[in-house]
Amino acid sequence: MSVAMKRKTVITENVEIAKDIYSMWLNAPDISREARPGQFVSLYCRDRSKLLPRPISICEINKEQGKIRLVYRIAGEGTREFAGMDAAEDMEAMGPLGNGFTLEGKKALLIGGGIGIPPMLELAKQLSCEKQIVLGYRDITFLEKEFEAYGKVYISTEDGSRGTKGNVIDAIREESLDADIIFACGPTPMLRGVKAYATEHKIKAQLSLEERMACGIGACLGCICKTKEVDHHSNVKNKRICKDGPVFYAEEVEL
């Protein structure tokens, strides 16, 4: 694997697909060549008062065209800057970063919550086994149509406006979904629920975690998660989400 250098990429599309949710395609041949589902890129702001890279998961990879897709929510000033950018503008990006999901299992449950949904799309594309896809939203849904090509899609919304009223676990229980492997990405409370569910049902689960990052490559120790065992690199019970993750087996980590 070659090094994930910081590079100039070019935006080929950047559109709002739901309120405050944007879909951006980047022309980034070097990144797309190496990228795997569950990996992420670090995006850099132009406004140099904001120094740190913004980690954004890779949502789709188009190796033929040398492109990657990112789907992101306006969460603060950096993502607001990205949202204001147009096709043909440059975007500085470093990646692909992190380990990505391990493709495995016979019957999979893909669980995405909120802005944890995007990385599930490329995973759904690349995972060849039977797939059930559970998408949890607060209210407004996005990307759900695109998932339908890859498996049966179940939806939960907190306000009950679509699908099951509640969270993804409520949807899974309502539909009594079973699987031999779970892939999940979303807010920590959701991942805690997924971990509990997986443990209860003895299902192997890969969880993609999130943390504030500085270096994005494993050097600063800013983005650790607590692990069950002493970790080889840290010699304490801390793995680096950016380098050793963002994907971990549920039993490895303490949430």
């Binding site: 090094v3 250098m5 910081k6 850099y44 140099r48 008062s49 904001k50 120094l51 740190l52 890279p53 470093m94 943390e211 504030r212 990052m213 500085a214 270096c215 994005g216 490559i217 494993g218 050097a219 600063c220 120790l221 800013g222 983005c223 650790i224 998660c225 690199h233 840290s234 010699n235 304490v236 019970k237 801390n238 380098k243």
Partner: protein, 300 residues
């Protein structure tokens, strides 16, 4: 053109090193930068036993800078000796090991363990704002600075660099205390203690409440302190705080630093260290400077 500098008898091929804690032990950034191009690699702080560090969030971005509260997580001196020193020794660069502890005894223990190791200098971190005991407490009291310096000097086989805290009223006083204690060099600045509040969640952004401010935002404070320290003592100084370019590095050198360290800038630009090395050479070429030593402290 001579870019080499000599501090406490150790000669560095150029005056550029890494700021402790921002470069790991060089492994990760080694994929971006040929470590042999650097004057030295300064490692993350190492303690007598493994330290787990602080809870997360450990990082918060600020205007032109960042806060960190890593809490000196490190694998302990044994793993460091077995894994990191041999790794670094594969490169043609000097190795400076940053040392941390909670008590004078802990500092002594690490220094003694490193005495017979193949490392070039020890940088004693008495200025970390993110750990409850030790760290910054030592660095804010001139008597403590003097005492810990003399204790460590007795035990160290390598020259020792005392790393000073900027969270003081008079940096010159701390510099003189370290000099009196027998320090071979000084490095500064460590981070300024800062805080960020999330007004929407009405909570601190960092689990540790406070963190250390670094990055371009702090550079003017760092340059001033390097200038004051250089005028207070005869010791060579490693200057740092917000260096992101050769221009920044040259400000520190002209203020009196014999070497400079690149920290936070690595996170924004993984090849920053190399660009600083090359930019200093370009500046010397442009102005016909034959020897980098002619620039050290040239602005008075």
């Amino acid at each position: 053109m001579n870019t080499s500098v000599t501090l406490a008898g150790i000669t560095f091929k150029n005056p550029v090193t890494t700021a402790s804690g921002t470069f790991g032990s060089g492994m990760e950034y080694g994929e971006y930068v040929d470590l042999s191009r650097l004057g030295a690699v300064t490692t993350k702080g190492v303690s007598n036993v493994p330290w787990p560090g602080n809870p997360t969030p450990r990082i918060a971005e600020t205007y032109g800078g960042m806060l960190n509260a890593i809490g000196l997580q490190n694998p302990g001196v044994d793993v460091f000796i077995n894994r990191d020193i041999p790794f670094l020794r594969k490169y043609d660069t000097k190795v400076i090991v940053n040392v941390v502890g909670k008590t004078t005894e802990e500092y002594c223990e690490v220094v003694e363990r490193l005495a017979c190791q193949d490392v070039d200098m020890l940088e004693i971190n008495i200025s970390c704002p993110n750990v409850k005991e030790g760290g910054i407490a030592f660095g804010q009291d001139p008597r403590c600075v003097f005492e810990i310096t003399s204790e460590l000097k007795k035990r160290a086989k390598q020259p020792i660099i005392m790393k000073l805290s900027p969270n003081v009223a008079d940096i010159g006083e701390m510099a003189r205390a370290a000099e009196a204690g027998g320090a071979d060099a000084l490095s500064l600045i460590n981070t300024l203690t800062g805080m960020k509040i999330d007004i929407h969640r009405r909570a601190f952004l960092l689990a540790n409440k406070t963190g250390g401010l670094s990055g371009p935002a702090v550079k003017p404070v760092a340059v001033r302190m390097v200038y004051q320290a250089a005028n207070a003592v005869k010791l060579p100084i490693i200057g740092m705080g917000g260096i992101a370019s050769a221009e920044d590095a040259l400000e520190f050198i002209m203020a009196g630093a014999s070497m400079v360290a690149v920290g936070t800038a690595n996170f924004i630009n993984p090849t920053a260290t190399l660009e600083v090395v090359e930019g200093i050479e370009a500046y010397m070429g442009q102005y016909g400077i034959e020897d980098i030593n002619d620039l050290i402290g040239c602005v008075k």
